[in-house]
């Protein structure tokens, strides 16, 4: 059997979902026996590779760069998992949506009276007007709500995918 090519992607999120993934502890070893992690903040690969079997994406889409990375991941992956509430609902990153990008930047960098009031721009990706969940941009194969989803849930999801279970039922909820 071919080893599964797994990627993880970190968009606008706190990395808590990735921490939760690590929380699977010694079960990571079982997982490692079956998968190659071909791209992830946890490994060194620079570019998102071709022919990925499963990509787990944490975080909402908040910038044009996030959007481009998401679309690339979608094109190059067979299955795409929205991992955690930010990817699934927008969650905390989307709390700024009530005011829009420009107003939020002003509120944070100018109106909160920082020592050096200026809106950072150089070399930064352009902030989208709203931070949105992944399914507003690309089709999703599995949603795993939770903030973060429990390690058990993530492990069960990956295990289920490895086992080829078509109709995965996960015990999780928004905010779990």
């Amino acid at each position: 059997m071919n080893r599964l090519r797994l990627a993880t992607l970190w968009l606008d999120g706190c990395s808590g979902c990735h921490m939760s993934l690590l929380d699977t502890d010694e079960r990571l070893l079982d997982l490692a026996a079956q998968v190659d992690i071909v791209y992830s903040p946890l490994v060194d690969a620079k570019d998102f590779p071709e022919q990925v079997d499963v990509v787990c994406i944490e975080g909402a889409v908040a910038t044009d760069a996030d959007e481009a990375r998401l679309r690339l991941a979608r094109r190059r992956s067979r299955l795409l998992i929205a991992m955690g509430d930010c990817a699934v609902t927008g969650n905390v990153p989307a709390m700024r949506n009530i005011m829009g990008a420009e107003a939020m930047l002003r509120a944070v960098y100018l109106e909160s009276r920082p020592l050096k009031p200026q809106i950072p721009a150089d070399g930064l990706p352009h902030l989208n007007e709203q931070a949105l969940p992944l399914h507003h941009f690309v089709p999703i194969d599995l949603f795993i709500p939770g903030c973060p989803p429990a390690a058990d849930t993530l492990f069960a999801a990956l295990g289920g995918l490895l086992a080829g279970i078509a109709d995965l039922r996960l015990d999780t909820r928004f905010g779990a």
């Binding site: 609902t89 709390m95 399914h135 949603f143 903030c147 996960l170 909820r173 928004f174 905010g175």
Partner: protein, 238 residues
Amino acid sequence: MTTPILTLTIDGRPVSGLATETVLQVAGENGIAIPTLCFLDGLSATGACRLCMVEIEGSAKLHPACVTPIQEGMVVTTQSERLRSYRRAIVQLLFAERNHVCAVCVSNGHCELQDLARELGIDHIDFPGRYPALAVDASHSRFVLDHNRCVLCTRCVRVCAEIEGAHTWDVKNRGIRSQIVADLDTPWGTSTTCTGCGKCVHVCPTGALSEKGRSVAEMQKKRPALPYLVANRAEERR
């Protein structure tokens, strides 16, 4: 005169109930769960959330179980693919309507909206969020009203008017702009009609009304025994 007892079928099971009872009551007495949100035992039923809609044989329409009286020979279906898809859509519409961020909510883990989503297998919201800019009223010394988390079930309005008798709350505006309002749109803390009884907080199904000082997931509601209050009040007044 005694109330007649009627027999009917719910989800294929023969059941019976008093002629004064609703489909929701009889279903509940027989352990048949129908999802609800605006309904709360002891308050007037309004049929507003539309989650308890059921199919009744011989009727093309759907009927809200909370306000539909039982009838002899009625054949009720409470679970079907169609009802399930409507219920899922309604709960999703509520999530998309305001800013429900479960992860940072005082009621996380103790929220009826969250539970409904889980029971109905909702793992994402199809509809784009509306993200309205809504206020948080923290002017009261003991309680907080967060409009971002309100589902407009009007339980607070009804408990305050019908049980407490203060009628501090009502709904202002209409349609998608509807909001819960205290007195003449006064901050809750300066309301002159509020008795501070806290019933509204404890009947609220979400984190919209909470006790001050609660952190994420700390707000567990203690549902007041409303039918007891109603009965006792009538008895004491006699």
